[in-house]
Symmetry: C4
Subunit: 234 residues, 4 copies
């Protein structure tokens, strides 16, 4: 996907020729990848962080109204509880996406065009979460809002599954990563996809239960348990 | 908290197997940590910087109104002084949180699941500050606004205390950090927590005094004094 | 463009004297550039990522209206489809700009004042995209909106062409980059410019066709094809 | 300003003890500084980039109005020209601040508490620019708007002068930086301060001329001229 802007297929050799990772000695700090992977991570981290912070715009008092008594303001603030809950929920979800992205990124040796494309779609879906969250917070009992929220999470999980399939098929993982580990991770991704799809289905029947279901998933993911598999030995 | 999305407890081995810091030779520049810690810092820095910049949205002229005379506009601008003060206050507070985060991050050798979880909650609270600040600036004499602001700061200090406890209990600090230093820092965190809790209490009685109290805390923290403990010898 | 703030031409020697890359031994990790290039990339990545994330503000239900029935909300959400399409389109476009920027940045050895200036203008145009996108999404059948959008993309392509010309003329490319590769890339940039200019022309006749044309360009760029020229050998 | 949150003066030793740059071997890539300086730059770059991108929110069609004819929309868009001009102006100004920050940061060997404090204030002023810009764009003929804009730029230049004074007085510059270079740069900073102060004065008499004056300053800074003092020898 190098110099893709306007480069017709017959022009592909030039970008290849411009590819510096073949020409320039690789800097010592990028042992298991290239500057390319570093900047992909930096760009992705930026979008994840911005999207998470932008969520706060989903918590807002009705515009154009000025509260004159303490009581009115307090009532209006307490009425924002679904917005606050949706904020906490989505902040957690983006944190989980960031973390999965991080772990996956550390295990791969190659970044090819398809990976970049899927990554871009993942970022686009993640940056969409603030809209879906604001809607869910403002209309917590609406089927449309709960469905859109569930569809957004399901879309994100879909991309993770496609990414996993592509990485496995193209042998993009570091040699040290076992086939067993890849397979088991792929299975866990499929389970996650199913969970979000079920949550979206529930939304059609009962938006409130669906909202509670998403919160349950987030809490389940947050509770540290089992072996501390991310610990870094000193 | 590795591949946590949808990974049931029985699936924990795969993420462990995917853990590249055991498999890949550590790059020379990450002596006292890992890439993991670097990306945690990058993600956190992004949220801190973005939350601080988003504060400016809390200073705004009433929407939907167009000022026709110079006098009206000037009056409307001067009426924004509590918003401007709240902006300066919260910018400083986020700066202080960023700095504490920075110092703490440099002293630890391990990043485990609980640390990542507490860090995520800290980021969520920090990203909430723009809302609490906008409210405080718009309703500076409201008990609800001053209380919510105080609770937000207290929540942030609570996470720092929990983080400190967890890091100390799990021996996550670099070997060179003395027990004395850890203990004294923990004490200073508890003092900070108490200060914010007191500010929140004051808000119940007098929102104005509470606002002034927060400004006082910020100024106290900002004044450079004593040994220049962050100086870096050439 | 060193210490440019207020530095009259006769004062230019001081910045030169302050230039640390002549004075300080170059750190081992910056083999094909300098810290300067790194910070230019970091600043640019920040603006690209943030501009992409801000696009979401272009998808919003009409302010000040509260939907009371499920049906009304669903109708209002479906009416946002041009906004959603414009969002996806611009997210892709910014992703493409980011990628071209990335590839170009990796192939150059020098960052001079003109490069910094052109880069700043490119960032300013990119940060303008959220406004043009919101307008296109809200007024998809308007000639003005489609034209402004096309002009924004054309302006971006213009800067890329100017940048390419300047880099070629000033021999800023790494020695390993062949003249052939530079020439062919320059040609592909001109083709891209022409495409956007044509899209803008079409907007004058039919905004809808122009919108579809831009979406077509984005899809064309996204489809991975030909040799995987960005693959990184393990 | 180490572990400053709530740390009373008598508690200062602990942060000193926690200071890892004395305890941990310095990583090879941070020859002329420390990780501290790197993270200060990263946080600052983030705020600069976000503030620049947030400027776009200052260009907006009047909220709550839906344009039905092509003519009305076109007229409304053309009426935004002061907003667009203010956007371009402030984007340039933030770019200049970023660049000065960059150059200064590369020439110093020490980051102490006062530097961190002044840097924080500089960031707070920079993040305020979007508000001042939106106001200037919406009320280009208002004395209040032009004055506030001028005061914001003057405040930014004031911090740069204070920073320069502090760095010079505390011998924070790298040994290779000559006294002559420091002196000349300090003079150019004072000239810049004077320019902005004059612009603010003009605003009191004629806001329009003041706006044009700022645009003139920006263009003056942007034109590359003289020796290409930022060029990096291959």
């Amino acid at each position: 996907m190098g110099l893709i802007r306007g480069a017709p297929p017959s022009r592909l050799p030039p970008p290849a020729a411009l590819r510096p990772e073949r020409l320039v000695p690789v800097a010592p700090e990028s042992e298991n990848g290239s500057v390319s992977k570093d900047r992909l991570e930096a760009f992705s981290d930026g979008v994840f962080g911005f999207a998470a912070t932008l969520l706060i715009l989903g918590i807002a008092l009705p515009a154009g109204h000025r509260y004159v008594t303490e009581h009115d303001l307090r009532v209006a603030l307490f009425a924002l509880w679904p917005n606050a809950l949706a904020y906490a929920l989505s902040f957690t979800m983006i944190g989980i996406v960031w973390q999965n992205h991080h772990v996956l990124s550390r295990t791969i040796a190659r970044v090819d065009r398809v990976t970049v494309l899927l990554n871009l779609i993942l970022l686009g879906i993640t940056a969409f979460i603030p809209f879906a969250t604001g809607l869910l917070g403002s209309y917590p009992w609406s089927r449309s809002a709960a469905c859109l929220y569930g569809l957004t999470l399901t879309a994100s999980a879909t991309i993770f599954n496609l990414l996993m399939m592509h990485l496995a098929r193209s042998n993009a993982f570091l040699p040290a990563i076992s086939q067993r580990a890849i397979h088991d991770t792929a299975v866990s991704y499929r389970v996650a996809w199913l969970t979000y799809a079920v949550g979206t289905m529930i939304a059609l029947a009962s938006p409130g239960i669906s909202f509670a279901f998403y919160v349950g998933i987030a809490i389940f993911h947050l509770i540290p348990r089992g072996v501390d598999s991310d610990a870094i030995a000193p």
